[in-house]
Symmetry: D2
């Protein structure tokens, strides 16, 4: 199958290439970057040296010819690509936020007018597999909402309050240097940011609602001195007390057929570079603590995008995604 990656210069683009090179059914026929067009992909992604001879091309929509297009462009830029690609029969997996939310919520959250809105399944595979199968456009979830929602989903209906306290590696901020990502401002320290205003909160609330929850929901992210990974500590207040055993049973039941969800004590290193989400859960009085770990660039971006592709194309869901976490 022919694949084109639009916006291939960033971290998500690099991960798509890294993972698709190891996928037995895909061939990348183009990887675009306006600023790097003509240059070798390995000039931007030196870790791929020796594995690909591709060069970046310009993202000329009319020239794109593939079966599946991955959009790894910034929010508000993806919307211009979607309709033209779909019209030409190309399936689209959009890693930006442009199709994740209801139109009005998107416009309020991102402060722009959505000029090409349409509905698309929210590509959190474990929760929306059936819709994904039939779709030609997928809104690939945000990194924080992926780990957070998987942590709380089994108790969504029983919760009265869900507080997601998330800790993210710096690659989540992209590859563009800034004061925030300047090494001495991150290393050996820790900060909270956008502590009540992060744009991923509406996705989290939307997913809880779809799960039948009537819970209040809050979210505070932190920037940790690590490259990859998000650990989310979901503090869940239940409507009614529940025993540890019962809670555990629900989680095991909920995820019993899920290849990519593992019930074990999470550490970012166990999922590093992999598409797994590790979850543990403990009860204390009427609070439940559910902790999840994902690699933000894999299960939180490129890996889940490929998982969506596999579902859309009828491949076994784990195809090309069976790498173990890299630990240590």
């Amino acid at each position: 199958m022919q694949i084109t990656i639009i916006g291939a210069s960033g971290y998500a683009g690099g991960e798509l290439i890294r993972l698709l090179l190891a996928h037995q059914h895909t061939q990348i026929n183009a990887a675009t970057s306006r600023s790097l067009a003509g240059k070798n992909i390995t000039s931007q992604h030196p870790h791929l040296m020796g594995l690909t001879d591709l060069r970046f091309t310009n993202p000329d929509i009319s020239a794109i010819d593939c079966d599946i297009a991955f959009l790894a462009v910034p929010h508000t830029q993806a919307m211009e690509y979607v309709s033209p690609l779909l019209e030409r029969g190309i399936k689209v997996i959009d890693l930006s936020a442009d199709y994740r939310l209801l139109k009005e919520i998107y416009e309020e959250t991102y402060g722009v007018v959505h000029t090409a809105y349409q509905e698309a399944p929210y590509g959190l595979c474990e929760l929306h597999r059936n819709e994904i199968k039939e779709a030609s456009l997928i809104a690939n979830p945000g990194c924080f909402p992926t780990g957070a929602t998987l942590a709380a989903a089994p108790l969504a209906k029983e919760a009265s309050l869900v507080i997601y306290d998330s800790k993210s590696g710096v690659s989540g901020a992209g590859d563009n240097p800034s004061t925030t990502t300047h090494f001495p401002n991150v290393s050996d320290t820790l900060t909270a940011y956008k502590i009540t205003t992060h744009r991923h909160l509406p996705e989290m609330r939307q997913e809880l609602i779809k799960l039948g929850s009537r819970s209040a929901c809050y979210f505070t992210p932190h920037l940790i001195p690590a490259n990859r990974g998000i650990l989310t500590t979901a503090h869940i207040i239940l409507n009614e007390p529940m025993e540890q055993e019962e809670v555990l049973k629900r989680y095991h039941e909920f995820y019993k057929d899920e290849y990519f969800v593992r019930m074990q004590r999470p550490s970012l290193s166990y999922v590093r570079g992999s598409n797994f989400c590790d979850i543990m859960v403990e009860v204390q009085e009427n609070r439940v603590v559910a902790v999840s770990a994902i690699d933000n660039l894999v299960k939180g971006a490129a890996g889940q995008a490929i998982q969506n592709m596999n579902i859309m194309c009828g491949y076994p869901e784990q195809t090309g995604l069976t790498q173990a976490g890299m630990s240590p």
Copy 2:
């Protein structure tokens, strides 16, 4: 004033020496360590080379002769020193947990019988200054409860639920190597631990109650890849909604005379090596997020112990503790 440090080989002991060497009114006349007796202090604390010629001595209670003794021994070992020292007119500042809790709660939490219980002020200086002035024994607070309680204190009475989500540097685990502190198990990763069972929770609950709170209170700590510092994100659910402006006013009012509490966006690096506690606060609906940062070894241990000493001895409270945070 003559100072003896009992249990001077660990991180808290090392910090006591580092800080007391720069204190104009103190002289360390002995620093004990059973296992290192006879050796130079700098054999264990090479960063102090050139600044002290002291050698470790054995912790022989009958030979201790000083004005103030700091106990930096492990929990359950401090209790044997306190009475003999007090009887000889030596003031005692205990950095262990042995005198922080009510007897029965202590015994339940630490799983031992307290053989020498007595009441002592809880040395969270900003909250208990008056009691500390008169005391000859101080229970120096735990590192997590210090940062957590300072974050929530101004809203203690208005809260119905307080969840402390804390992130601690590895020095909090002490200087003893273990699987938990093995570099590859910490670096570039993140874990939650004792997510419902950490022994500092009773201290946190006790302090909220003393502040007149009727709030539920929970605590989950995390181990971050950093050497020093604790960032605590206090998720506070209020009984009644409150405006951002009003909340800010309360915090500024509450801490307006406190030298060591600074209302600014916290980052572990701003307090690194210093006795400051930085706090910020934001409101979202009926949730308040209060974030605090301290250096666990200074405001969370040795620095606060010296702050307690200053109060007990009638020195200006910031004596010897005016070092800036070391950033970057």
Copy 3:
């Protein structure tokens, strides 16, 4: 092909499993650990959860039944396994130091008597491919000598002095906690160790000699705050000045057919988790600086062991080893 890993609980063992699970021609039929026998492999290697159901077994030599055995046991313990395995027709790849050096040099370096010495090709694949093809026992090289030797090899004959200044991630010290690997002793700091006495120096000297070099050779390692990887800066003094262009040409020529050697600016992150060795080289007067980067657990241990296996078994050399470096 049936594979047994003897000593599978450590980092090298874990990497062998991780990589062999993705190798199309191999099946791990046993992974031994004396202390963990009976336990799931994932109890020790949680990152492999979901990918294998194997349990550790006891390393009972008489029960080992496989085509290839990897020895990932400590130095001085491998020698007892080799002969019995070879006698039963099992090919052996020894990741320890036991067969890397001449007998007398080994005994002097490791301070033990070698009770089962025999010759074996030194498995630095790029230099000894032909011998490896025919062998049934391979001495898999040390991590430092691999990166160092590849950096200097093209100029071995022209050098009068080679100083290897190497910087290693902490996983090189193994998974056993110690004061050296205690997080606060490594993070945000740097140390040199065994600055004239590291046991890998004899391997480096031996390889230079095999390359026809008459150069003096020295080695100083450093421990850096990183999990994986070795960057070696080879300071090479030439007998005769050479132009930058000529030096570059020699390196490109020397490695032109080598899949795993890439001539590009090295960074540990570009080779992280991969079997690649990246090299750059620059000339200044009669000094050449050649810098190489490898992943110590892959090209420096498990990956090169599998590369050796591929050569011994006639598989394409890169089989199962085409993973890109994981960057960021």
Copy 4:
């Protein structure tokens, strides 16, 4: 004594303020920053909150009124300040490179014409104390040359070859974000840079010559995932073999009266935040390895600048510089 810091927004400026606030004889009457004029110093240096109320001012030469001016502006910008300040009787300590080298070497190295050249003592205090005492302008040394030269100085005359292999924390690159200092490009990795072309090499060569050395001298720096500190491994080839004991004796003799040089195993953490330089030395055949550690912002910049000030003003040399290293 009144102090003005010209260029106070960067790391060196921040360190000058941090250290001078604790210096008993100084008062900072102005701290300039063109871009931040009017803003609180703590807006840029939040770690100083509570310790100073100063605001940045414009660097208007005619308005500068002080006893000592520290220039912490970029290379090539310091030269415009020096003459006007000296003419008004203000002593100047220049942290830039503008007065460190002979005019022609400076111009070649930095690629500019020096428009206001004059001679100034090179402020490596341990080597040039007598000249510094009499001077009104000091060229404060570069960070790399400070640690490197102190490592090799005692053997300068006996060396035929000195190779400095240095490893620097990221704060050495300043506080300006760049691709080089982007967290994911530094953390958990390591790179060499300017491996034959770093501009600090001429300073190193100049100092060796002043010490009477006829040695060849090379320098290769590396960027390590740490905030502060430089570890320099000096590989010294001697003209004649020397015993370990003799070498040690020379170092101890050379530094026996130096407060800031400590003969002990170096680790960046032991000197973190302090003005100390730790050195160890070992002999192997006719190679000597001398390893030094400094804090690049203190002994490598602001601290040494204050040490120079103390010498110029006749204060005890360690005044205001007796802080211990901060470990862990």
